[in-house]
């Protein structure tokens, strides 16, 4: 049973809110990942829980954008190239530009110029 509708791009915000993820991230693991950085000291009890929620929202967003990129290219399998384009297209994901640079470039969408940073297409900025 899927809670996810098939939204048009304009309904992006609606569908992100509609997605209910039941599976939880392991909170202890998140805390470990945080503290793997020596600069990070103590964290309050609620903090890894809060980061887990932020991560869930981030994942929903990135996965949905990647799916859009796959659809644009009539692909049934979402690949790292689609993720890469999703990152390059979304201002919120600028911090991932380096991380995705090693992924292959996606094929050009029919009727468009070469893929790459396409800020004009879909900006997701904070309100």
């Amino acid at each position: 049973m899927s809670n996810v509708a098939e939204p048009a791009p304009e309904d992006r915000k609606l569908s992100a809110a509609a997605v209910q993820v039941r599976t939880r991230f392991p909170v202890a693991r998140i805390k470990k990942i945080m503290q793997a950085d020596d600069d990070i000291g103590k964290v309050a009890q609620a903090t890894p829980l809060v980061v887990a929620k932020a991560l869930e929202l981030f994942m929903i967003s990135l996965v949905q954008e990647s799916c859009d990129q796959a659809r644009l290219r009539n692909a049934k399998r979402v690949s790292p190239a689609h993720l890469k384009q999703a990152v390059l297209n979304t201002e919120q994901f600028d911090f991932l530009a380096d991380t995705v640079s090693k992924y292959p470039d996606p094929v050009a969408v029919p009727g468009e110029k070469e893929p790459g940073p396409g800020r004009g297409r879909r900006r997701k900025t904070a309100e």
């Binding site: 009890q45 809060v50 994942m59 399998r77 990152v87």
Partner: protein
Amino acid sequence: MSDRENSSEDLSLPKATVQKIVSEIIPSDLVFSRDARDALIECCVEFIGLISTQANDIAENETKKTIASEHVIKALQELGFSDYIEPIREVILEHKESQKGRERKIGKFEASGMTEEELLRKQEELFGLARSKLQHDEAL
């Protein structure tokens, strides 16, 4: 990178959990390739690092030694993720509610204002009273 027991390779998100979450998100006609899932995990770990570092800086600026939820919220705002803040406030509320439930259980003892000794003495006193009352009632 670090001398800890767990090398930084082990410190990632569990693949099965991520896969489960992905399948809850994507429409039924699409599939996430294994490479895409691994790439996603990489991005997630980057995200955690980004938020943690920013929240840590904010906490340090307030000369706090512990990173609190409020620091994470400020970090999200500064990094352009303000749309995440409302759902996160709900998580914080739920957490506070569950904490309250726990504290109520030990509240009685602390609320009595007496030390354990005083409470024991009081208990003996009450037993003594009850005993004498019982004997009195039996005598009747």
